[in-house]
């Protein structure tokens, strides 16, 4: 059945392949009816082409008119039996097709041009594949998909899938068609047969599930699928997270309704935590459950442990959440580390410039901001941040340390008249013991 590539090519070039064999009459008859139906329906869609040749002008509303009758008509004078009924003398196998004699190539061309055509006569696997291959080489996705729809209808899945494996372009068209028509079942079958169970298929399926419990169960079933080790870890995490969210959501919803937990009263939840990303969940836990012991499911430390969240990520999120709540002591505690002698100092996995940015976005007051602006190493950057956030003390101290009288004098004009800052500047400027550059 299968021919090698070279054979196939020879075959295309050498013949137009028109003859069809029908073993029994029933088959032929039903085929004729099929074709007739198909063509009739097509006539309605396709606009009449006035430049068509004779064959296409044939009317299908009445009796089927094919090559045999036209032959008869062209010889009306000769009444010999031979010409009167030439078909009777021919072996059945030489019967011409009733619809047309268009080759696969011609059929594809007609499809591209929007002319009438019929695919029903292409019944052998070889013909179907020729049709497909011509469609692919014509680069017309519309026609490729049309042929695939026909093949999908007339070929067994196993055969179709097998043939598509070596025809990547056609395969991608079928995948796209099944995706668009939302034929999930066949799509999954196709991808499984190609060993392509990747994120593409399962992901789409997953997204269509809205109920969280069903979603969780589905995810669990996904865990056994052949993902890459890396992706399978992500799917596992996703599953664990969703499980966790379901528990937290149930508890917190109840707590919120009960009206006894202060934080939910003060800051009502804007949305459910279900299906939120991990970092959002972490933020949520830092916001509502920050003080919980590490043992509870909703504790932020527990989340950090379970999902191996990086120090930086945890820090950024906790900082934003606690700043939002204006829990400045918590913010302060985040930075505090003790060395072995018991001294404390402020440390951050994030540049202090960013820290200031995060705090400022969460509308931290100047007193808080200036503690962190002061920790910015680079003097120039520190001054520009201090000026931006009106941390006058820092600007003044920096200028003092730089021994720059001019700048300090200039800055005097920028602070409020009669303010403490102005007084501080004046003191510095008027201090005779101070040395300037």
């Amino acid at each position: 059945m299968m021919k090698s590539k070279a054979d196939e090519e020879d075959y295309w070039n050498s013949s137009k392949f028109k003859a069809f064999t029908f073993d029994d009459e029933d088959d032929e008859f039903s085929r004729l009816k099929e074709s007739k139906q198909a063509v009739n329906s097509i006539r309605r869609l396709v606009e009449e082409d006035d430049d068509e040749d004779d064959v296409e002008k044939v009317s299908w509303s009445g009796e089927p008119v094919g090559s045999k009758t036209s032959l008869f008509k062209t010889n009306p004078d000769d009444l010999s039996v031979r010409l009167y009924a030439p078909e009777l003398r021919k072996p059945k196998s030489e019967y011409k097709d009733y619809v047309s004699d268009w080759s696969p190539e011609e059929t594809i061309q007609r499809m591209q041009q929007g002319k009438a055509f019929s695919l029903e006569k292409f019944r052998s696997l070889q013909d179907k594949l020729l049709l497909l291959d011509f469609a692919v080489s014509a680069h017309d996705g519309n026609v490729i998909t049309a042929v695939l729809i026909y093949l999908k209808r007339t070929l067994g899945k196993e055969v179709l899938f097998r043939e598509l494996e070596s025809r990547q372009t056609a395969l991608r068209h079928l995948i796209q068609y099944l995706t668009e028509t939302r034929d999930q079942r066949l799509l999954l079958e196709l991808l499984r047969s190609l060993c392509r169970t990747g994120p593409c298929t399962t992901g789409r399926e997953h997204l269509s599930i809205t109920d969280e419990n069903k979603r969780r169960d589905f995810l669990k079933s996904c865990l056994s699928l052949p993902f890459s080790p890396e992706d399978s870890a992500h799917v596992q995490d996703h599953f664990t997270l969703l499980e966790r969210q379901i528990i937290i959501e149930a508890t917190d919803r109840q707590a919120e309704r009960g009206g006894k937990v202060e934080i939910f009263q003060k800051f009502p939840r804007r949305a459910s935590i279900l299906n939120m990303p991990l970092v959002t969940t972490l933020y949520y836990c830092c916001f509502y459950h920050y003080t919980e012991p590490e043992g509870t499911y909703s504790s932020s430390l527990n989340i950090r442990q379970t999902f191996k969240i990086s120090e930086k990520q945890y820090f950024v999120t906790a900082l934003a959440a606690r700043a939002k709540l204006k829990a400045w002591s918590d913010v302060d505690a985040l930075f505090t580390s003790r060395n072995w002698l018991g001294f404390t100092r402020k440390k951050s996995p994030l540049s202090f410039q960013r820290v200031v940015d995060i705090l400022q976005k969460n509308s931290a007051p100047t007193q808080v901001l200036q503690d962190y602006v002061a920790l910015v190493d680079d003097a120039e950057l520190r001054i520009s941040l201090a000026q931006k956030h009106k941390c006058h003390d820092i600007v003044i101290n920096t200028y003092r340390d730089l021994k720059d009288r001019q700048l300090l004098l200039g800055y005097r004009g920028k602070v409020e008249r009669g303010s403490a800052e102005e007084r501080k500047i004046d003191e510095l400027l008027n201090n005779p013991r101070r040395r300037w550059k």
Binding site: S41, R44, L45, M111, Q112, Q113, H139, D140, G141, N142, V143, I144, T145, A146, I149, S166, Q168, T169, R172, H173, I175, Q176, Y177, T179, E180, T181, G198, P199, C200, G203, R204, H206, L207, S208, E230, D231, H234, V235, D237, H238, L241, N275, M276, P277, L278, V279, T280, F307, I309, S310, K312, Q313, V316, T317, A320, L350, R354, I358
Partner: protein
């Protein structure tokens, strides 16, 4: 169609070497007239009163072609937007104007079947634009509606958005063609080209690069062969076709030229933008942005840093013009009011709009540390301080700053670095999924498939593996495996291309953005857009000769074909300098600005035909999968 504006204020200062003898652009309003006439004809095919349902994304394009009164004249009673819900129309004739999408056709089948179930008789007509697909008809057949509806095609391929921009308004072209590998729009692109060829051709030379370009070119040739040929005076001489995947770097960069910036921030839709209260300090207004807007026309191609200066100069001039009134006698005043005042008022309105827009842009950009973002982009383009760039991106992700923005930077990193180191790839991907959701596993799969965000594959390992596999299995399978590997390892080769084509000027050199010396000005002098550089080079060489190394780095598929009338091209010299550039998969406003600059330098006029106007957000959003 439109009068060309007099010598623009800025250009002489921008480019001294600009040639002034640029040829006139063809009149593309003809395309609109054709589309309108055809639509009217189709509406007349369903005589009597009817309700018209329009697909949401066709509403703006339709609006540019035919207004409501034209529709009413042809007995359209009520207009509805397709919303995939049961309908409330009581008309006994329904007409649907849609894109050939299965989802929409299914909805129409639901409407018709619901009518059948309640015994309601109506007539239905579907007008597909720009063409119908067999798959859509198959849906009609499956749902038992075939024959109950009549179908037609509205061959509305091309919408002129401006004097030199034509859009196919097919944003899905990008995803369908490049991600899904579905070639449904190839013939559409060929037909669009065919239409332009028969109206403004014959083209004497066609250049192109990319698989899709090649296919579209072939489709066009076939359509030319099918139809009859007319000889006429050519208005467009040369054509350049380019696939979007030839150059992903350019659309991923932040736009800093005014028109591109407005698109990045406010999203220009079908040549129209909606400015909100933050711009107008009043209610929202919709503004058409094209060369008819005299103020916009002068700043659209300018680097944003020049825009404020220009606008304030303009405001001073306006004040002077208003001030002329003082000391006028009655007669002079009368002339002033009748001749100048209206124009001045119009200019006043436009000026305050664009000043408002610029202010709003400034505010938004300062808020998100635009300077630092640009610095990172430029470092990536230059291949400089990559570690710092990675930690910048990481912080972006950690702080859950815009999901698209983070993705954009990741892709830019991957393309410029020819893939991420495995360790970085894994860690950034994991952090991304943590910040924006595991659903983005699909996004990552898509980006990998397109070669936009990949893990570095050590070249040697690949070949060793291939040859080992090759020995084990037969040739056919080995070939398939090689395909699979090479698609995974699709190299972007950005660095090599950048060196060869000199895309990234040496840093440290001063670049005066007010006097641009090359197309790099559209990215603050940091990068010459690859797509436009290719066009420049090919036009200069009249083909790909001498660019063999470059095309090899771009995965080949280049072509240059001389048409039948190529020989006597000297006679129609003007047409030879009108060049149509077709971007398959979308084009950005920055690229259009760069081409306009190139045109002024070389005395060309470029006409940009795009399947859609794109930018980094649109490009990446089309690759997300969480909209299913």
């Amino acid at each position: 169609m439109s009068e060309r504006c007099p010598v623009p204020l800025l250009w002489p200062r921008m480019a001294h070497s600009a040639r002034r003898d640029s040829p006139e652009l063809p009149d593309f309003s003809l395309l609109k007239r054709l589309a309108r006439d055809q639509l009217v004809y189709l509406l007349e095919q369903l005589p009597g009163k009817k309700d018209l349902f329009i697909e949401a994304d066709l509403m703006s394009p339709l609006d540019r072609i035919a207004n409501v009164s034209t529709l009413k004249e042809h007995e359209v009673d009520k207009l509805y937007k397709v919303e995939y819900k049961p309908i409330t129309s009581t008309s006994d004739q329904l007409c649907f104007l849609i894109r050939p999408r299965i989802k929409t056709v299914k909805w129409i089948c639901d409407v018709a079947n619901a009518d059948k179930a309640t015994g309601k008789f109506r007539r239905y007509k579907i007008i597909f634009t720009p063409q119908k697909f067999y798959a859509c008809e198959a849906v009609l057949e499956e749902q038992g509606i075939f024959g109950d509806v009549t179908t037609d095609e509205w061959a509305f391929y091309l919408l002129p958005l401006d004097d030199d921009i034509i859009s196919l308004e097919l944003p899905e072209f990008f995803r369908d063609n490049f991600l899904a590998g579905d070639q449904r729009w190839v013939r559409t692109a060929g037909s669009a080209l065919h239409l332009l060829h028969s109206l403004y051709g014959p083209f004497s030379k066609v250049y192109g690069i990319g698989r899709c370009s090649k296919m579209a070119y072939e489709s066009w040739r076939e359509q030319v062969a099918e139809g009859e040929q007319r000889t006429r005076q050519a208005e467009i001489g040369r054509v350049f076709l380019i696939d979007r995947d030839v150059d992903f770097v350019t659309p991923l960069c932040s736009q800093v030229v005014y028109e591109g910036l407005v698109d990045d921030i406010f999203r220009i839709k079908c040549g129209c933008v909606e400015f909100g209260p933050d711009v107008t300090s009043d209610k929202s207004v919709k503004v058409m942005l094209n060369s008819q807007d005299k103020v916009f026309n002068e700043i659209r191609n300018e680097h944003f840093s020049n825009v404020f200066g220009f606008l304030s100069q303009k405001a001073r001039n306006l004040q002077t013009a208003y001030d002329k009134r003082r000391g006028m006698d009655i007669k002079q005043m009368k002339t002033f009011v009748s001749e100048e005042l209206k124009g001045l008022k119009q200019e006043h309105r436009l000026l305050s709009l664009h000043i408002g827009a610029s202010e709003s842009i400034m505010k938004k950009k300062t808020k998100q540390d635009f300077q630092e973002l640009l610095k990172t982009e430029h470092s990536l383009l230059e291949g400089f301080e990559i570690r710092e760039c990675i930690s910048f991106i990481e912080e972006h992700i950690n702080r859950q700053v815009s999901m698209i923005q983070s993705l954009r930077l990741l892709c830019l990193l991957s393309i410029t670095e020819n893939g991420l180191m495995p360790k970085d790839y894994r860690s950034l991907k994991a952090q991304y999924l943590q910040s924006y959701g595991v659903d983005h596993l699909l996004t990552f799969a898509n980006l990998r498939h397109l070669g936009l965000l990949v893990e570095q594959q050590p070249g040697e390992t690949l070949t060793v593996m291939e040859s080992k596999v090759g020995k084990l299995v037969n040739d056919k399978t080995a070939g398939k495996l090689t395909d699979a590997f090479s698609s995974l390892a699709r190299k972007s080769n950005f660095r090599a291309l950048s060196r060869r084509l000199n895309l990234v000027p040496k840093s440290g050199e001063e670049y005066d953005l007010r006097v641009p010396r090359d197309m790099a000005y559209i990215f603050s002098g940091a990068y010459v857009p690859l797509s436009c550089k290719l066009i420049e080079q090919v036009l200069e060489r009249d083909g790909w000769t001498g660019l063999e190394e470059v095309t090899k780095l771009l995965n080949g598929n280049e072509f240059a074909v001389t048409g039948s009338n190529g020989a006597d091209s000297k006679a129609k010299n003007d047409a030879q300098r009108i060049i149509l550039v077709m971007f398959l998969g979308g084009c950005t406003f920055s690229e259009i600005s760069a081409l306009r600059f190139l045109g002024r330098e070389k005395g060309y006029k470029f006409i940009v035909v795009a399947t859609a106007i794109t930018n980094s957000s649109r490009l990446l959003e089309s690759l997300l999968d969480n909209h299913v």
